[in-house]
Amino acid sequence: MNFDALFDHIGQHTVDGLAKGAIYALVALGYTLVYGVLRLINFAHSEVFMVGTFAVMWTWIGIGAGNTPSIGIAILLLVLGGLVGAAASGGTAVLVELVAYRHLRRKNAPSLVFLITAIGVSLSLTEIFGIFTGNGERKIQGMPTILNQSIAIDFLGVEITNLQLIVLAAAFLMMIGLDQFINKTRYGRGVRAVAQNPDTAALMGVNKDRVIVLIFALGGLMAGVAAVLWNMRYGFTRFDIGFVIGLKAFTAAVLGGIGNLRGALVGGLLLGVIEVYFATLTASKWEDVFAFIVLVVVLMFRPTGLLGESLGRARA
C-alpha cells in the first residue's frame, strides 16, 4: 500500500475520481429510474449507453469533424452530439421497453425473467455492434478529438482540466434538471405516483404505460448525455464498452441507494473516487475489488444504500 502516493496528491486524486464518477452517475440514473418505478434491474441499460457512444461517433465522423476544431464548432459538435446521443439512447431504451419488457409485464412475469430478457437484449445489441462495426474484427473505434484537454483551474496544486469541468458541470446540470422534472412537473408527479403505487395511480387516471415509457426515455436520455461526455473525454468506443461502464454504474446506483436519484449521483461520484484512491494505493487491477468491498460494507450497515430508496417510498 503506497500511502505516500495517495496522500501527497489527495486533492488531485479526488478531482480525477469525481470526474470519472460523474459519467457513472449519469448512467446510474437510468438504472435508478427504472428500478424506482418498476423494481426491475434493467440490465440492458449498459447497451443503451453503448449505442449512444456509437451514434455520437458516427454523427461526428459523418459531418466530417476533424481534430480540435475551433471552439465554436466544438461547442456545436458537443451540443449536436448530445442531442443525437440522447435521441439514440433514449430511442433504444424505449425500444427495449416496447419490444421486450411490455409483453412480460402484461404476463406478470417474475423479475428473473425480466433479467434474462435484458441479458438477451444486451447480448444481441453487443453482438450486432460487434459484427457490423470495425470490419467484423471487433476493434476499438477511435474518433476525432473535439476539445483539446487543457488545465482550466489550478488551485493549490490541484489541476482541473476543462474536460473534467465540463463533465462535472454537465452531470450536475442534468441531475438537477431531472430532479426538478420528477419533483416539480405534472409528468414527474405521474412518475412518482406510479412508483409509489402503480395500481392506485392507474385508478387515479395516470397512464401507467406512458409513465413507464417516459422513465425509459429519461434514463436513455441521461445515458446519451453520458455517451457524448464519454466520447469527448475519452475519444473512443467499442462494441463491449457497455458492459464495463454498466457494471460500474449499476454498482454506483446500488451504493447510493437504487431508486434514489440523488443516490445515483452520490454513488457514482463516490465510486469514482474510491477507484482512483485504491488504484493509487495499490494498482488499477485491484480497484474493482475495493469498489465491491466498499459496496458490501456500505450495504451491511445501510441495507438500502447510502441515501436509501426513495423515488417512491422506502421499503422496509
Binding site: 428500478y35 423494481r39 434491474i41 419490444v99 421486450a100 409483453h103 412480460l104 404476463k107 412475469a109 417474475p110 423479475s111 428473473l112 425473467v113 433479467l115 434474462i116 430478457t117 441479458i119 438477451g120 437484449v121 444486451s122 447480448l123 444481441s124 445489441l125 453487443t126 453482438e127 450486432i128 459484427i131 467484423g136 457494471l247 449499476f250 454498482t251 446500488v254 437504487i258 494498482a283 487491477k285 485491484w286 474493482d288 475489488v289 469498489a291 465491491f292 468491498i293 459496496l295 458490501v296 450495504l299 451491511m300 441495507p303 438500502t304 444504500g305 421499503r315
Partner: protein
Amino acid sequence: MTANENTVTKKKKRSFADRWNGLPGWSRFFWIMGGVIFLFYLPELGNIPGTNLEIPGLGFLRTDVGVGGSDWDSILFRCAVFVLIALGLNVVVGLAGLLDLGYVGFFAIGAYSVALFGSQQSPVVKLLRANFDLAPDWALAWSWCILLAIVLTMFSGVLLGWPTLRLRGDYLAIVTLGFGEIIRIIARNSTITGGPDGITAIPGPEGAPNAQNKYFSILDQKWWYWLALVAVLVVILAVRRLENSRVGRSWLAIREDEDAAAVMGVHGFKFKLWAFAIGAAIGGLSGLLFASQQAFIDPSQFNVNLSILFVAMVVVGGAGNMAGAALGAILLTYLPERLRSLGALEFLPERFQDPAEFRYLLFGLAMVVVMILRPQGLLPSKRRARELKDRAQEVPVNG
C-alpha cells in the same frame, strides 16, 4: 377412478408434467432407467455399439460432423458439467429464490482447489513441499481434492452469505456479481494462484494427465463424460431428496413469501445460508471436474459473463425445476457448438454466411424470444401432487 378426482378445478389440457406425474411409479422408474442408459450411450450417438451399423439421422446431432466442429465427447462432458452447475444454481435461484450473479466464483474456487492442491506445477503445492518437508513429488490426491473442493466452496458460500443474505434480492444480485469478479481478479493478480498464466498438469482420477492413462486419457474424453454423468446423477438424487423434504419446502416458502414464511416459523436466514452452501458445493464440484478434464485453467476462463450464462441456463430452462434447469444448460452449451459446425450458409448473402460469427447474436435473440413466449421457462416448475387420493378419505372426522 380418474386421477383428477380430488381436484377442485379440472384442467382442460394435460401438460407433459401432468402426464408424467400421472404415470404409475414403476413405469416412471423404467422410463428413468431407459433415459439413464441412453445418457450413457450418448458418446456413441448414431452408432450401434459393437457393430458397424449406424442409425440414420441421429449422427446429425453430433457436434463433430461438418468442418470446424468440436469433439463430441468433450462437448458432452461440457454439457454434463454445465448441467451440474445449473442444478446447483437452481437450488439457489430456483428453489430459494436468491438471485446469485456470482456463481462463477464457486465454479472457480472448485477448479482452483484441485489445481492448487493437486497439480505438481502449482505454487501452493511447491510452497507446502518446501515448508513441510514433503516428498518432492507430493501433491494432494485427487480424491482428497474432491473433499477439499466441496469444503472450500461451502465455506466460501457461507462466508459470502453471512453478511449478504440479509439483503433484499436485488442488492444480493450486485453483491454476488462483485464476489465472482473478486475471485477472478484475485486469481489473476496474485502469484500464489499462478497469476494470469494459470495452472497446468491438473490431475484427474488416474493422477496427473498422461497419454498412457487407461480410461481418463487426454485423447479420448468418453470416460470423462461418464464420470461427469455419474456426478450429475448423484447430485440429482441428492437435490431431489432435499427438494422433497421440509428443507425444500422451507426454501420454496422463502421464495414465495419470506415474511409469511417467517411468521409460520421458518428460519429464513438459516435456510438461505443452506441453499447458498449447497449450491456452492455443487458449483465447486463442477469446477473441479472442469479443471481436471481440461488439465489447465487460467483466470480468464471464469469471467462474469459465465455467471450470467449460468443464470440464463436456469431461467430459460425453467427455474425451480431440475429437468428445466438441466435442459437449459444443455441447450445453451450444445447449440452454439452445433451452430459452429453448421458450415457456410450459402443461400445467404456473403456477409451472413458464417453462422459461427452470428451464433451469439442468435443466442441473444433466442433468449429474448423464449422469455417473451414462455416466461416460466421451457419446462416450468410444477409441484408434484402427492399420492393421497385414498388417504384423504381415511382421515377421521373431527380430528
